[in-house]
């Protein structure tokens, strides 16, 4: 793993919030124990996305290493979300490969990609509004369930077991993100910040190897951002790998282990935050469009 930045917030703060630090145990007891920290888990190779004549992403390559928090940044329109969408199967890449643990993801249906272990949240929250918070999380957990129509109709023992553990795990996940007391409310009635947390819980519920967060701090005030950073770190410490797209430089610099910078669809830098901070190319990319820092 690349040299870690000293966390701004320590574990005590989390405990004060009542965050359960061993949540991974409850959420997915059967999940693989992370063994080879630092080895490339996701490999993005020469990824290119074209829309008509427009090249939104141009030969971008980077790795996401096991157990790290990788930041993906860049000015508006740099191709961050495009890259994200191409990785998760929303867009078909024009060329290039995305591999998870050495297996090719390109061309798989989106739900398969999720089941392989790549989960995401959405920049503009997309919860299932007419479902309760708990049900939203259980939809995520369903990605690991085996029974389907037959099992449900006949109430087979496997189905019953899955339903029961789903509620336990769902509640544990909601507890982990700190909104368990709101489990029974429809997600569209939840406060904004809770909705964002619920999205993270729902994505974690699919038991991902890599959790991709698309601007999770959008619309947060500084205090909420601090809490979010702590949460992201806890997630990582529990053995998940995190890919973070973020606008807020302070948050990115504070929480990530490594940063990939995109500009006009091309990768212009890939280094630890300290180096990125002083990289003249990155600075000019951001200063060239000063509005971005305001966003």
């Amino acid at each position: 793993m690349s040299e870690a930045i000293e966390p701004d917030i320590d574990v005590d703060a989390l405990k004060e919030q009542g965050v359960d630090l061993e949540v991974a145990e409850k959420v997915a007891p059967e999940r693989d124990i992370v063994t080879k920290v630092g080895e490339a888990l996701v490999q993005v190779q020469d990824l290119t996305v074209k829309f008509g004549g427009l090249t939104a992403l141009d030969n971008v390559s980077f790795d996401i290493n096991r157990g790290e928090i990788l930041g993906l940044i860049g000015p508006n329109g740099a191709g961050k979300t495009t890259c994200f969408n191409a990785m998760t199967g929303v867009y078909k890449p024009t060329s290039g490969k995305v591999m998870l643990e050495g297996q090719l993801l390109n061309g798989l249906p989106q739900h398969r990609i999720t089941r392989r272990g790549l989960a995401r949240t959405f920049q503009n929250i997309r919860l299932f509004g007419e479902m309760t918070a708990l049900e939203n999380v259980v939809v995520g957990l369903d990605a690991r369930h085996r029974t389907s129509v037959g099992g449900a109709l006949l109430r087979l023992p496997t189905h019953v077991r899955e339903e029961k553990t789903a509620i336990e795990r769902g509640m544990a996940l909601l507890e982990f993100v700190g909104i368990a007391d709101h489990a029974h409310f429809l997600s569209r009635h939840l406060p904004y910040g809770y909705q964002r947390r619920l999205e993270i819980a729902r994505a974690l519920a699919t038991d991902p190897k890599v959790l991709c967060l698309d601007e999770p701090a959008a619309g947060f005030n500084p205090a909420e951002k601090e809490e979010l950073m702590a949460l992201i770190r806890t997630i990582r410490d529990d053995g998940y790998t995190v890919l973070l797209i973020e606008h807020d430089m302070k948050l990115v610099m504070g929480v990530t282990d490594r940063i990939v910078v995109l500009e006009f669809g091309k990768k212009i830098a890939d280094a630890v935050p300290k180096i990125i901070r002083d990289d003249p190319k990155v600075i000019s990319a951001y200063l060239g469009e000063p509005e971005d820092d305001l966003a």
Binding site: H111, G129, E130, M131, H159, M171, I179, F185, H189, T206
Partner: protein
Amino acid sequence: MSTTDGPTLIPDDSSAQEIADREAKMRRRKGWFPGLSDKWNALPRQTQWLFLIIVVVIAYLLPILNPPLITTEPGNNWQIALAQMSVYALIAVGLNVVVGYAGLLDLGYVAFFALGSYTAAMFTSPDSPYVHIPYLWTLPLAMAVAMFFGVVLGVPTLRLRGDYLAIVTLGFGEIVRILATIIPAMKGQVGFQNVGHPPGTDSAGQTIFQNSNGTPWYWLTLTIIIVVLLAAGNLERSRVGRAWIAIREDEDAAEIMGVPTFKYKVWAFAIGASVGGLSGALFAGQVGFVNNQKFDIATSILFVAAVVMGGTGNKVGAILGGALVAYIPLRFTAIAEFKYLIFGAALVIIMIFRPGGLLPARQSLLAYGRLAYNKLRGTNGDIPASGKVVLQSGKGADK
């Protein structure tokens, strides 16, 4: 691209009570009898069961009670009216799976109903030159036939956006009617007489299931409805129901959360089709005659109106809606002629003013979620800000 609602901006410090109030308010705005489902959910399990048993007993007694004012007589025979209402209720329950749960608009549902009717007719009627099988066998056969066509029609269209399904099913509904006219084997307007019925004679040696006697048909259909309801309930409170609702709410997000959306859309469509086929076979048996005149698109729209009136997504509401759609023209014979106008307008009015319909209940999508929720509701006021919940892992699953 999407114009769906963004998140509602509610400050984070709003208490649980405030959210609960907001939810209640939203529900009041949506339907006619909003408090009903809240009150129902608050009842203890035993009371609910007791109440259900009473309702079911009354339902079975309806043909004998023949309650004044409610009865459709003298205009229409009450027992036959009940039999027709029960068939419509079953149709609505089936269509509700497609429209209400998965959010797929099937405007050609009458086609599956027709397939079921023709299956029953062509395998039992003496007018049919083909092999004859006992009537009760045609019920599963009708389900299978309708399901098969549901899959055949669903697979190409369900990959596309939902709107295409509406127009393709609309076309399909029309095609089945036209084919019934131009395929000689389906006998057009001449149709099939003396469609079969379940076996059995009473003590006097009379056939029990006569076309002129609605009561046994009503009891049979009612029993089938109860079985279908239990099955639908099992599906609703499982991965399947959650997948359907997730697809209805946000299909792309559902796919990304690992829901195989296409597969579950085909399931919804096929299950809906099979119930449509089943109700068609029951209808054919009760009426005893099948020809091409009964399966026009207008009837299909009545089915949709039944689901929407009852409350989209609510299976109990669907029963109510289905029964009402059949009942209103039979009870108020003066307006029977205008039923398509009335129910067409009803669709618009409900969608604009009361999108929840009569019973805007929300699905419960977790088989064992009740206890977990009730614990939360019971302790609304004094949950520590930490979000630590009294519910211990392991206990939440107790039933």
